[in-house]
């Protein structure tokens, strides 16, 4: 399930719905939640504006989830990403993955958020308390993480269940 929306989401409800979809199969459930934080140290992020490419966003995230399903033993994950204006401390993104094998749930969940950060067409604009505005730059570490997933073999990725 992939949703891009302006409204806030209830992580507990998303988790409950994910459980319901995969009842009985999954003894392990891993979630990732991302929040707006003080990106610029000491400056205090006032607001964050998230722009996106409708259509391509949903397609890319769905494709990322499909890759996770093919690579690990996980049923369909849940990804919800917000767009529009967000404030300090608010939720931005939720990734929920169920599995019969906890290692698979951890791996798939991290793969999805790593891939989302370098592939899904979202852009963050930050507005500081001072009124200064700028577009957030992609972090090199994010690109490196995504590249790493391509090289990870079952051995060094701890993919065993």
């Amino acid at each position: 399930m992939v949703i891009v929306q302006t409204e806030d989401f209830n992580a507990a409800e998303l988790t409950a719905a994910l459980r319901k979809r995969h009842a009985g199969q999954a003894g392990a459930l891993v979630t990732f939640t991302g929040y707006v934080r003080d990106y610029t140290e000491g400056q205090g992020t006032h607001t964050l504006f998230l722009e996106h490419y409708p259509g391509m966003c949903e397609r890319e995230i769905t494709d990322i989830c499909q890759q996770a399903i093919e690579r690990w033993q996980v049923p369909e994950p849940t990804v919800v990403h917000r767009v529009g204006e967000l404030h300090n401390g608010e939720q931005i993104v939720y990734v929920g993955v169920a599995s019969a094998h906890r290692g698979d749930a951890f791996r798939a969940c991290e793969f999805i958020i790593d891939a989302l950060k370098t592939r899904a067409p979202f852009w963050k604009r930050e507005t500081l308390a001072s009124g200064e505005r700028f577009w957030v730059q992609q972090r090199e570490s994010d690109a490196e993480k995504t590249a790493q997933w391509a090289h990870d073999t079952p051995n060094n990725a701890k993919e065993s269940s």
Binding site: E51, Y53, G55, M56, P121, F122, W123, Q137, A143
Partner: protein
């Protein structure tokens, strides 16, 4: 798809610099992504160097070696920063 133009979408900082988010761009013949970015920079010098920008064609990420055909939807943007 066919036609004599492409639809160009600008996002985020690129849209701020071009002052538009969507425009129809006349294109009669196929052109490489790199060549098209040269044309884009000629039109919008404020984007220079345009070769640093990312492209998506018909909503898929592509390399600059891609061939853009008339009728395509071409998106131009800086590296994504979601999540």
């Amino acid at each position: 798809m066919s036609g004599t133009a492409i639809n160009v979408l600008y996002f985020a900082q690129v849209a701020e610099l071009t002052g538009t988010r969507l425009e129809s761009w006349p294109l009669a013949e196929p052109v490489s992504g790199a060549q098209w970015l040269e044309q884009l920079e000629a039109r919008y010098p404020q984007l220079a160097p345009a070769q640093r920008l990312k492209l998506a064609v018909n909503q898929f990420h592509v390399k600059h070696s891609v061939v853009i055909n008339p009728g395509d939807e071409v998106a131009v943007f800086e590296p994504v920063t979601g999540g």
